[in-house]
């Protein structure tokens, strides 16, 4: 059952991810991205990380993507026309893909014994995540929050110059 669900939602997320790139219309791309976020949340849920799954939906699907849609709707962005093919993409695309595939294969071969156990992970509850964030990973957590604050201040400064 777990494996079947995993395969279904992994397939959905992959199809949606490809769809994000190949769709000509920004709104369709954004909706496909929501599909990716949603199926990722289901994958987290299958692995037993229910808090991460809920946070994934609330933050990414519920807040970030709504803002994306909002901007696309405000700008009234229309259908994108295909640009003439760039030289760099041709030269670097295929080697980069090959290197990435090799790296992935290397890491997968490194730990063949550590299979995925559905529901075997117990650190996914809200309590466990909170404990980890405020003990072992306190410094990274605080640094990230400062980083986000800087980003907000930066955005406001940039927006003010426009007026």
């Amino acid at each position: 059952m777990d494996v079947i669900l995993f395969l279904i939602f992994a397939a959905i997320s992959l199809v949606c991810a490809v769809n994000v790139v190949i769709q000509p219309h920004p709104i369709s791309s954004a909706i496909s991205l929501i599909g990716v976020m949603g199926s990722l949340a289901v994958l987290y849920l299958l692995l037993g990380a229910e808090f991460i799954a809920a946070a994934q939906v609330i933050v990414y699907a519920g807040a970030v993507m709504v803002l994306f849609l909002f901007v696309i709707m405000l700008l009234n962005a229309g259908r994108e026309t295909a640009q003439s093919k760039s030289e760099t993409a041709h030269l670097l695309g295929v080697p980069a893909l090959l290197v990435f595939a090799l790296l992935l294969a290397y890491f997968l071969r490194q730990r063949p014994e550590e299979g995925v156990h559905f529901g075997g992970f117990t650190g996914g509850s809200a309590e466990a995540v909170g404990r980890a964030l405020f003990t072992a990973y306190l410094l990274p957590f605080e640094v990230v929050s400062v980083l986000i604050l800087i980003a907000i201040v930066g955005a406001i400064v940039l927006a003010r110059k426009e007026i």
């Binding site: 709104i27 909706i31 929501i34 949603g38 229910e50 808090f51 799954a53 809920a54 946070a55 939906v57 609330i58 699907a61 519920g62 807040a63 709504v66 803002l67 849609l69 909002f70 709707m73 405000l74 509850s125 809200a126």
Partner: protein, 399 residues
């Protein structure tokens, strides 16, 4: 029947019952809303379809189903068709984690009066409702209509802004109850088996949590796009807002979604602050007799007016209503129904109270201006919610 078959059968029955009750409530909530607002405005409201307009919801459903389903030629078809579906399915989904009562015995099978209990129940509802925003946003965009687009933009901006104070207001009672499961929330507020349960255990009366409650209610009004925050469908500016281009059942889907969202946030308010299915005072001081008294009194009043009819119809309709109410009162007296009917009664009574407040506010308050709406949440509601959460967290940590 082995245990797993029994589980599936009972779950199926529970789903069917909850779905049927929810659908009926959705239809009749609209009738109640029209009646209450009519009486606030000193007019009778729906009156002609059935006694006191009681069959009006049925007539409305038939009308909406049989109306022509228009598909404007200029819309973005797949998204236009998907949007009402997203809105209504997300709105109905969140009822699946709401607990209506404690564990009960049905013919030897122990089961909870709840479809399923997630240990992240509160987050689940927040997640589902945040996905529901897409129904409104996509409907407005795909309609290819400037009024619809403006309505959708307003609505998504408003929902994102008010989600912050809403989540912060929810976090304060969660800190006190120390759980994310909706059933556990009620248990910590005096719903544990054997606990007498008084209103003093409710989170609303826990210190200054009434502040969280008020913030929650205000944000909930905005989240459900209700008056005074119904700028997404401000009739005098935007025709009908995001659902301008929708007709027939697709329009009805948005309508159902709005009312289902109202019911969900009312259930949330009751579970988070008002102790869920817990009676306001212990049963040994007679809280179990309240429903009997309420129904018997209503039945007697109806009977009296049936015997002294003001209108010709009343001679037939009111005695029937009175007898039904008296029968319901008698059912509440039967000992084997009390274990599950009493919690259900208190839960429904509290949810009904909040729903009445929703309707009352709609009949009383004018609409906000758009800039006032944003200034109100970002410069007033949000800071208060943050302060409230900080102080609550400090007190919970120290005590």
């Amino acid at each position: 029947m082995d245990a797993s078959t029994a589980f599936y059968v009972i779950s199926l029955i529970k789903i069917l019952v909850v779905f049927a009750v929810l659908m009926t409530t959705l239809a009749y909530l609209q009738w109640i809303e029209r009646k209450v607002i009519a009486h606030i405005q000193v007019r009778p409201g729906p009156y002609f379809v059935g006694p006191h307009g009681l069959l009006q919801p049925l007539a409305d459903v038939v009308k909406l189903i049989t109306k022509e389903d228009l598909l404007p030629p200029y819309v973005n078809k797949p998204i236009y068709l998907a949007a009402p579906f997203i809105a209504v399915s997300m709105a109905l989904l969140s009822i699946s984690v709401i607990p209506f009562g404690p564990k009960i015995d049905v013919f030897g099978y122990q089961t909870y009066m709840q479809l399923t209990d997630l240990n992240i129940g509160v987050l689940f509802i927040l997640a589902v409702s945040s996905v529901g925003v897409y129904g409104v946003a996509l409907a407005g965009w795909s309609s290819n209509n400037k009024y619809a687009l403006l309505g959708a933009l307003r609505s998504s901006a408003q929902m994102i802004s008010y989600e912050l104070p809403l989540s912060l207001a929810i976090a304060a009672p969660l800190l006190i109850s120390n759980t994310l499961s909706l059933r556990q929330l009620v248990v910590t507020q005096g719903g544990a088996p054997g606990h007498p349960g008084t209103f003093w255990n409710w989170n609303l009366f826990h210190g200054w949590q009434w502040i969280s409650f008020i913030i929650f209610l205000i944000a909930a009004f905005a989240e459900t796009n209700r008056v005074p925050f119904d700028l997404a469908e401000a009739e005098n500016e935007l025709v009908a807002g995001f659902h301008t281009e929708y007709s027939s059942m697709k329009f009805a889907s948005f309508f159902m979604a709005e009312y289902a969202n109202m019911i969900t946030v009312s259930c949330m308010a009751v579970l988070l602050f008002l102790g869920g299915w817990v009676a306001p005072w212990p049963a040994k001081y007679g809280s179990g007799l309240v429903p009997v008294a309420v129904f018997a009194l209503s039945g007697l009043i109806a009977l009296y007016h049936g015997l002294h009819p003001a209108r010709r119809m009343d001679r037939f309709s009111l005695p029937v209503v009175g007898v039904v109410f008296l029968i319901v009162a008698a059912v509440f007296l039967a000992p084997f129904t009390q274990s599950w009917l009493l919690p259900l009664f208190w839960f429904c009574a509290k949810v009904g109270l909040i729903l009445f407040a929703f309707i009352w506010v709609r009949g009383t308050l004018p609409r906000f201006r758009y800039d006032q709406l944003m200034v109100f949440t970002w410069k007033f509601l949000f800071p208060i919610a943050v302060m409230n959460l900080l102080v609550t967290g400090l007190v919970v940590a120290l005590v």
